[in-house]
């Protein structure tokens, strides 16, 4: 029981903070109490959420991916270019963008694994590459989709007020949680993050798992870019700037330990919702400036890494 509690209490802490924030916001702002606003927390933050899901895998494996924001921007530009200017059908353009994102991630994972380069350095270079490519794809740094009916109809699709973007995000969370819990590959991610050499000695497939983790992060980021295009009908090279910081914050606030090996996608979902509420509140208060959200996210990050530190201390004792 004690072991169970120490294992799950970071997640519980996140849940408590989320609940307190939501109740607080609902009391202060009547608009927050509606079902529509609740679904918008998911819809408006689907891109961040998808990136954070991929980031969860990377951090669980003991790595970090600083390129996701740039990959999102690049994917949005690619999709707008393929579906808009080149008039590819969406069923062809979207998988192509997803494949490109996954391949880009796999390439970074390969460099990290094979040449033992530090993850943050390789993905930093990846961030420059992806952002540079996104900016070069159009001289206007932005591609309007124009009258692309299939994308427009997708943007209007919704189930119980959850937009397609929110549904894709929730599906990604569910699939990831299942994979981490029940798939051999998912368990290997935890094993690598806890102790790589032990995982290797156990005969686990370290190389495909690690490369796969970065490929998945690239895939998720590309999906985030696609979701953004569906929502805004345009690709934009300057979106998702430094979004990787928010994604990392969401993962850490969700109770995943940055050193790897411990954490969950469910926590990340809670973390994303916390960030979603914090960034939504300035919209309700006219004199609250948006930079306060940066300060509050920083403070929350500090709170949760300190909590991690304390719980680590407990375990060592």
């Amino acid at each position: 029981m004690r072991a169970n509690l120490t294992r799950h209490w970071p997640l519980l802490a996140t849940g408590v903070v989320l609940l307190a924030l939501y109740i607080g916001a609902a009391i202060a702002f009547p608009g927050f109490r509606t079902w529509f606003q609740f679904t918008r927390l998911f819809s408006d933050n689907a891109t961040l959420g998808l990136a954070a899901v991929g980031m969860t895998f990377v951090i669980l494996s003991g790595g970090i991916d600083l390129s996701v924001g740039a990959v999102i921007a690049c994917a949005s530009m690619m999709l707008a270019l393929l579906a808009g200017e080149l008039a590819w059908p969406l069923w062809l353009a979207a998988p192509a963008v997803l494949a490109a994102g996954a391949a880009f991630g796999a390439g970074m994972g390969g460099l990290i694994h094979i040449f033992r380069l530090p993850p943050f350095l390789v993905t930093l270079a990846g961030m420059f590459l992806a952002r540079g490519t996104a900016l070069l794809l159009s001289p206007h740094k932005r591609i309007e989709l124009g009258s692309h009916d299939s994308v427009r109809s997708l943007s209007l699709l919704h189930v119980a007020d959850f937009t397609l973007a929110a549904l894709i995000f929730l599906a990604a969370v569910t699939l990831s949680a299942l994979a981490l819990r029940w798939m051999r590959w998912g368990r290997t991610v935890y094993a690598i993050g806890s102790d790589e050499s032990a995982a290797r000695l156990m005969g686990l497939a370290v190389a495909p798992t690690r490369i796969g983790v970065y490929a998945l992060s690239g895939l998720c980021a590309a999906a985030g870019g696609i979701v953004h295009v569906i929502g805004t009908q345009a690709g934009d090279a300057s979106i998702a700037f430094l979004l990787e910081l928010d994604a990392i914050a969401a993962v850490v606030i969700g109770g995943t330990v940055l050193a790897g090996g411990r954490g969950s996608v469910l926590g990340t979902l809670l973390g994303v919702l916390i960030l979603a509420i914090i960034t939504t509140i300035p919209g309700y208060v006219s004199d609250l400036d948006s930079w306060w959200t940066r300060l509050i996210i920083g403070a929350l990050l500090l709170l949760f890494v300190s909590l991690q530190r304390v719980s680590q201390h407990w375990r060592e004792e």
Partner: protein, 333 residues
């Protein structure tokens, strides 16, 4: 010493290729002229525009030497610039503004250092917090606006003044580099830093004040970032909380890596980082000046070239690459 010399070989070769490329395309690249008591020319431009990155790279060298990293330097630059501009705006003296800005940088560095050395957070996480919150603080100080500095303010000399024809930022950066190299290599401080980065536990057993050394490295980083922020603000005569020092944390880390320091700590070279910073600025300046058949090169190419360059340099420096090479040769034979 020979070890360090070997590490300087690749960056030196890279810089030589970059400069040769520039000289071939633009014969006037190396020309220096004295205009109104001020040296001008592409080489001076590179040093002048590169001064903030150079200062950051110096601090980052020590931080990385202890096995750490500081992701918050760009945000600290923005805070320092905002503090100075805000104080000047409300009528404070130049000295007060300068002292307050540097003090803000010191406080930021001590904050990072305490989280890492005393609380025991990992450097990426600890400095990530300030990276996220720092620009929020800068906007809080500047009330979310870009604060202009009066065109006759004495503080502008930091960004635009000259001494003996050399721009002031260049002198500050080179002076800081010389001072740091002297302190690091003539006293045992450099050795201590490498010890802490190389093996923290062994250093503690050997009686080194590991925590103080860590704290000092981050504090110095904060001060250098503040000075870089002042140069940036004085250069454009305004404090821009959103854009001051943007991406420079990346540039300064890349400069240190190009300079041959081990990212895991325990080995650093001030001269190498100096070279690294100059290489990064030379790439940017070359791209800005480049034009092919009347068409200018898009500035965005800068990002791609920098990234490719850094990856290539890291690859050839990694031991796995060296182990791979003979393998591939024998496979081909």
């Amino acid at each position: 010493m020979r070890e360090i010399g070997r590490h300087l070989l690749w960056p030196l070769a890279a810089l030589a290729i970059l400069l040769a490329f520039n000289a071939l395309r633009d014969p006037a690249f190396f020309h220096l002229r004295l205009v109104e008591g001020r040296l001008t020319g592409a080489m001076i431009d590179i040093l002048n525009q590169g001064a903030p990155v150079l200062l950051l790279a110096l601090g980052m060298t020590l931080v990385i030497g202890t096995g750490g990293i500081d992701l918050s330097v760009g945000a600290v630059m923005a805070v320092a610039g905002a503090v100075a501009a805000d104080l000047l705006h409300s009528g404070a003296s130049t000295a007060t503004a300068l002292a307050a800005a540097v003090g803000a940088g010191l406080a930021a560095g001590l904050w990072n250092g305490s989280l890492i050395a005393l609380v025991g957070l990992s450097p990426i996480v600890a400095t990530l917090i300030l990276m996220v919150a720092g620009r929020g603080i800068a906007q809080l100080v500047s009330n979310g606006e870009i604060i202009d500095i009066a065109p006759d303010a004495a503080i502008l000399a930091i960004g635009r003044g000259t001494v003996l024809g050399l721009p002031f930022p260049v002198l500050i950066a080179l002076g800081a580099a010389a001072a740091l190299a002297g302190v690091a290599r003539l006293t045992s401080l450099g050795l201590f830093i490498e010890c802490v980065g190389g093996n923290e536990q062994a250093s503690r057993y050997a009686g080194l004040a590991v925590r103080s050394i860590r704290l000092a490295a981050y504090a110095l980083m904060g001060v250098l970032a503040a000075i870089a922020g002042l140069i940036d603000a004085a250069d454009i005569a305004a404090a821009d909380a959103n854009n001051c020092g943007l991406y420079l944390e990346l540039d300064s880390i890349l400069a240190v890596v190009i300079g041959g320091a081990a990212l895991t700590g325990g080995r650093f070279s001030i001269a190498g980082s100096l070279l690294g910073a100059i290489i990064i600025q030379t790439i940017s300046t070359s791209i800005l000046r480049a034009d092919f058949g009347g068409r200018s090169v898009p500035v965005e190419l800068n990002l791609i070239i920098k990234a490719t360059f850094v990856l290539a340099l890291c690859l050839v420096q990694s031991s796995e690459w060296r182990r791979w090479r003979p393998l591939r040769r024998s496979a081909a034979a």
